[in-house]
C-alpha cells in the first residue's frame, strides 16, 4: 500500500517537474525575476507595477520619452499589459516624430509595440481615455506609425512642414 502511494506520488511529481522544465525551456526566462513573472502570468495573477507606471506617465507628460519608456518597461516586464504597451508605442511616436522627417528606428519600435498592444487587447480593440493624448485608440496610433515608416511622394509635400504632433 505504502509502495503504491510512493509510486503514485512519484508519477505525479515526475509529470509536474517535467512540465515545469518544458515550460521553462518554452518561455526561456532570463533571470529568476522573469521566472517569477512568468509564473504569475501562468497563474493569471500578473499585474503591472502601478507606481512605476505613474512615474512613466509623469515623465511622458514632461516630454522625457526615453525615461518614460524605461519606467514603463520596468512596470510591465513581461510586456503583457496592453495599456502600458500602448503608452510605450505613443512615447516612441512622440520622440520619433519630426516636422521634416521621422525617426524610422523609433517608429518601427513603436509599430512593433502597438501591434503587441493590439494583440493583447480583448477583441483586438484598445481605447485609452487620456485627455492628454490626441490619439485614443491603438488603431489610430498604428496608422500614424505606419504612415511615418512608409516612403511616398507625399513626403515631399511642403505643407507637411505645418503639420502638428499628435
Amino acid at each position: 500500500m505504502q509502495r503504491k502511494f510512493i509510486q503514485i506520488a512519484g508519477l505525479i511529481w515526475t509529470l509536474v517537474y517535467a512540465s515545469i522544465i518544458v515550460w521553462i525551456y518554452a518561455t526561456v526566462p532570463r533571470s529568476f525575476k522573469e521566472v517569477a513573472t512568468n509564473t504569475q502570468i501562468a497563474a493569471g495573477i500578473y499585474e503591472i507595477n502601478q507606481e512605476r507606471f505613474n512615474n512613466g506617465l509623469t515623465l511622458f507628460r514632461r516630454d522625457q520619452f526615453r525615461a518614460a519608456r524605461d519606467e514603463w518597461a520596468g512596470a510591465d516586464p513581461a510586456q503583457r499589459d496592453p495599456r502600458t504597451q500602448f503608452y510605450i508605442a505613443y512615447a516612441c511616436y512622440r520622440e520619433g516624430w519630426g516636422r521634416v522627417y521621422d525617426d524610422d528606428a523609433l517608429f518601427k519600435q513603436g509599430l512593433e509595440t502597438v501591434n503587441r498592444a493590439i494583440s493583447l487587447a480583448p477583441n483586438g480593440t484598445l481605447v485609452v481615455d487620456d485627455p492628454n493624448l490626441q490619439m485614443h485608440t491603438a488603431a489610430e496610433l498604428k496608422t500614424e506609425l505606419e504612415e511615418g515608416t512608409e516612403t511616398s511622394w507625399n513626403d515631399l509635400n511642403p505643407v507637411k512642414l505645418f503639420r502638428k504632433r499628435k
Binding site: 505504502q2 509502495r3 503504491k4 510512493i6 509510486q7 503514485i8 506520488a9 512519484g10 508519477l11 511529481w13 515526475t14 509529470l15 517537474y17 517535467a18 522544465i21 521553462i24 525551456y25 526561456v28 526566462p29 532570463r30 533571470s31
Partner: protein
C-alpha cells in the same frame, strides 16, 4: 527493518531517480551570459537526441537496462507507466548531458558531435558490461567537459592565463566561434554531469519489485546461467 528497506527503495526508484534525471535535463541546457549574467536556455540540438538514442541502445546492449523487465506486460500499468517515465527522463537527461558538453556553434560543435557519434557507434559493436560502460561514459564526459569548459572556454577568458596560452597553441589557426559564457556555466555543467553519473549509478538493470528481491536475484542468476551455457556451447 524490511519495511524501511522497501520504502527507501521505492522512494529511490520512483522519486529520487526521476528527479535527478530531470534535474540533469533542466541544467544541461543552462548557460549564463558572460556580459549580462542572465540565463540562456539552449534546447537540446537534434544531434544530441541521436547521441542519446545511441547511448540508450548501448545501455540495453551492455545490460545496464533490461528493457523487458522495466516494461513488462505482467506488471501493473502504474508500474509500467512509472518505468516508462523514468526511461524517458533518462533519455532526455542523456541528451542534455551531451548538450552540456557540446560547444554551441561552429566547427567545434560539429567536431565534438562527430567524435561522440564515432565513439558511441564503435561501442555498439564492443563487448561491454554495465560497469565498464559506466566507466567509459565517465571518461567520455570528463574529457568533453575539460575540452569545452577549460580549454575552449579558456580561449575566451579575458584574463588569459596558462590555459589560454596552451589552448591558443593547441588550436592555432582554427577559427573559434563559440559564444563566451560566464565561468559559472562550467560549474552548472559539472553539477549536471555529476548528477547524471549519480543517476546512472542508481539505475538498476532490473527494477526492484516489492518483497521479491530474492525472486529478482534468481531471475538475474537464471539469465546469467543461460548466458554461460550459451558461451560454453
Amino acid at each position: 527493518m524490511k519495511n524501511y528497506a522497501n520504502r527507501n527503495q521505492a522512494l529511490l526508484h520512483f522519486i529520487v531517480l526521476p528527479t535527478i534525471l530531470l534535474t540533469v535535463g533542466l541544467l544541461g541546457g543552462l548557460r549564463i551570459d558572460a556580459q549580462t549574467g542572465k540565463f540562456i536556455f539552449i534546447a537540446p540540438p537534434l544531434v544530441t537526441l541521436v547521441l542519446a538514442i545511441l547511448l540508450g541502445s548501448l545501455f540495453v546492449r551492455a545490460g545496464a537496462i533490461d528493457l523487458h523487465r522495466w516494461l513488462d506486460i505482467e506488471q501493473p500499468t502504474l508500474t509500467n507507466v512509472s518505468h516508462l517515465l523514468t526511461l524517458l527522463a533518462l533519455f532526455f537527461a542523456s541528451a542534455q548531458a551531451f548538450n552540456s558538453v557540446l560547444p554551441e556553434t561552429g566547427l567545434l560543435h560539429w567536431m565534438f558531435s562527430f567524435f561522440f557519434l564515432w565513439t558511441l557507434w564503435t561501442n555498439q559493436f564492443s563487448a561491454f558490461d554495465a560497469r565498464r560502460l559506466l566507466k567509459s561514459l565517465i571518461v567520455l564526459f570528463a574529457t568533453a567537459f575539460v575540452l569545452k569548459h577549460l580549454v575552449v572556454a579558456g580561449l575566451n577568458a579575458p584574463e588569459g592565463g596558462w590555459i589560454r596560452k596552451l589552448a591558443s597553441t593547441l588550436l592555432q589557426g582554427i577559427a573559434i566561434d563559440v559564444p563566451a559564457f560566464a565561468p559559472i556555466t562550467g560549474y552548472v555543467s559539472f553539477f549536471a554531469l555529476a548528477l547524471y553519473v549519480l543517476g546512472l549509478l542508481l539505475l538498476t538493470p532490473v527494477p526492484v519489485r516489492p518483497d521479491s528481491s530474492a525472486v529478482n536475484n534468481l531471475a538475474v542468476r537464471e539469465d546469467a546461467l543461460a548466458e554461460l551455457d550459451q558461451s560454453a556451447e
